[in-house]
Amino acid sequence: MINSFITLFRTDFKIILFWLSKRPISKIIVIIGFLLLFILIDRIIYSSTFIIFSFFKSTGVFGRLTALYILHTSIIMLIWFAIVSIMLTTISRFLRINSIISFLITLPISPTIIVSWIFFKTFIMNIILLFIFIMPILIGYANVFFEKISFSFLSIIFIVISIISFFTTSIGTILGYIIVLLFKTSVKKSLMIYGIFLLISGITIIKLIYPSNIKLFDYTKGLPEFQKIFHSLPLGYKLNPTYWLIDSIVSGLDMRIFILLFFVAILTIFTIKMISNRFIIVFQRLQEYRIVNNSNKENRIKILISLQELFKITNYPIFLKDIISILRLSSEIGFAIFIASLTIVFFILNFVISNKVSESSLFHEQIILFFFSSFMFFATAYLLRFSFPLIAREGGSAWFIFTQPISKNKILKEKLILSLIISIPFFILNLFIWEFYKFIENNIFFIILTSITLLSIVFSTIIIGAISPNFDENKDAERISTSGPGLLSLALNIIIVLINGYVLHLFINNQQLFLISFLSIFFGNAIIVLFIYFIFSKNNNYQF
């Protein structure tokens, strides 16, 4: 039994080696690029937390408790994020045609082995991402409050992150599995329920982090009262298990952490057992449901007929085809729901906290720049997933699309139009989102600059995606987005955001409108025009 488990992991390792052996230099550059990117992200998180924690340290016990609260908040947010992303992975795994699982269930391997293999692969990815995001915050805290990082501190962090990773992998897998079981006949219903869960859980998390009694801090007099209010908050409550995790990081290990270890071990075994018990039957039934469900629906037929008619009259058939792909593929809708819910939850939290912090005019510029960069972060994540792979996804149908009597420029133009259309939610959001910042008197400049930056990102993303499309990975949009050209597109987007962020900084501080407009239009967009020229003149090199 254990041999099959090891063989499956060994095969994964060989697949990675095989992937590396094909064009190894470019793969190594991609890996180094991503490492540098993560180092940059970690460095930014570390520097900001270090500055914030240093400020709180100077205010004594009040500051130490507030820093503890921020630490707790970030861990709660990451737990929520990990659970919802693992839920999406689980739902997609069951609802999509999965050739590897289909192959594995024909082999004489126990379902427990297959489920454990999937579970631990998810666990490994999860723990890596948790390390990337939690480590800089914890090290920032330790450097400020402990002034040095000991080996025992690092060991505690490792144990805490492992507990979080086992917990989130188990809960995310169970919740995803339950949604699939409940709504097995409908991909759309499953994803809708997932979206509702995302929103409700996200708003609950915000309520948990920012409960109504937090306002009592404004009227506190003295430390005892402050401490009393602190421990009455949901995140300050001493019986809250996540509080135990934070307390072990700050004060060292005790019995509570061993209780949590025992709990997550039981939870992991329960998760694997629960799913493997009916894994093969559920997997087979889902395939059957899908086929039956798709062959017996008259209303679906009516819709298909009207779309067929639409194809005949439209002048943008490729655009229409791509719109249909987004609406009909569960993977696409799932990711759209995921990113939309994350954006909503993030911005609600952002507004609540920013308007509180903005009572001091010292932080206005920081709040604006933080909002601008996070808005662009969500837009980039969305566009890298939807716009960037648009050309590469034609790889599987290259025999068809590239033997039609149409120019490659027509294909590109329609993809560009689609990119603009699918980014409309961000343009609309930008129109009134600045209104929420009460301290901004005239928001026209902010709206215009954000729109220009967004437009540049839309153009650069689709164009880099067309310069060197990864046709081989046409079925997996995530892989396309994380390839070398994906990294290049991300780098270009970061440059565009940095330049426009600098323009914003100039505007806030100097009001040099002429210089600002010139810089914004020239650097933010002229570079993109050059790329457009380049790609439209060099796009005849695709070969299959």
């Binding site: 045609i97 899908r290 086929i291 798709n294 062959s295 679906r300 037929i301 298909l304 007929i305 779309l307 067929q308 008619e309 194809f311 005949k312 009259i313 439209t314 058939p317 490729i318 229409l320 085809k321 249909i324 792909s325 009909r328 593929l329 599987g396 149908s397 290259a398 025999w399 068809f400 699309i401 590239f402 033997t403 039609q404 009597p405 149409i406 120019s407 070969q543 299959f544």
Partner: protein, 249 residues
């Protein structure tokens, strides 16, 4: 006077040539896959190309339809260079790949309508053609379903219909009958014969010698990127021609 007469003959001959390959070679990473190949294929005939795996057949057909660019030489479709005038050349043919999957999220009907539109056809013309060719195979019960649920054979049938929708003059097919049931193989072969009768040219690559034997007029045998035999087929002769060609080599 004689010069004009000679040019006229050349022009008429050229019009009769559907596909012309002139010194075509293809290299991948300095390895030659196709060696200096020249062919002139007249209209109104069915040509087949057979050969062992890795002989270069698919590479050659992909160059003919513009999916790969020749390293040297040129390919003309009714006089239009596939590299220099790709749009004009592509208007004249339909192509079916060895893996006919495309856009799983579209229904068969939507796929046919999309092809018609990309081929520049008018709305009414597309509807009429779908009606005309829709009866070739009994596909009524699945035409409205997304193609993700199609069997290999049904995908092949839809691919053939999409290749025929614009009334092309040439059909290029890489492995025409993989996944088809015996009755559909017969229908497929008869469609090719009908197409030939209307002055159409078919070029297909296959491993199924019996199908090539039944429906093709002329065979090319390729090995290691070189056409080692090129001759007309008489009924039930292909097995012997193929084995002789490989043994001679």
């Amino acid at each position: 006077m004689f010069f004009y007469y000679y040019a006229d003959i050349l022009y008429m001959m050229d019009k009769n040539i559907a596909i012309s390959l002139n010194g075509v070679s293809k290299k991948f990473n300095n390895k030659i896959i196709i060696h200096n190949t020249s062919l002139d294929l007249p209209r109104g005939k069915i040509f087949t190309m057979i050969g062992p795996n890795g002989a270069g057949k698919t590479t050659l057909i992909k160059m003919m339809v513009g999916l790969l660019t020749p390293t040297s030489g040129n390919i003309k479709i009714f006089g239009c260079d596939i590299v220099k005038e790709p749009i004009e050349a592509k208007k004249k043919f339909g192509f079916i790949s060895d893996d006919p999957s495309a856009y799983d999220y579209l229904s068969g009907l939507e796929f046919l309508a999309l092809t018609g539109k990309l081929r520049g056809m008018e709305e009414l013309h597309i509807s009429n053609r779908i009606r005309e060719i829709g009866d070739i195979f009994p596909l009524d019960d699945i035409l409205y379903q997304p193609m993700a649920y199609y069997s290999r054979g049904s995908r092949q049938k839809i691919a053939l219909l999409s290749a025929l929708i614009h009334n092309p003059k040439i059909l290029f097919i890489d492995e025409p009958i993989v996944g088809l049931d015996p009755a559909s193989i017969n229908i497929f072969g008869n469609i090719l014969l009908e197409f030939k009768k209307n002055e159409g040219t078919v070029f297909f690559v296959t491993h199924t010698l019996s199908f090539a034997d039944n429906f093709a007029d002329h065979v090319f045998i390729m090995n290691n990127g070189i056409i080692i035999k090129d001759q007309p087929i008489s009924k039930n002769s292909l097995d012997d021609i193929y084995m002789d060609a490989l043994n001679d080599k």
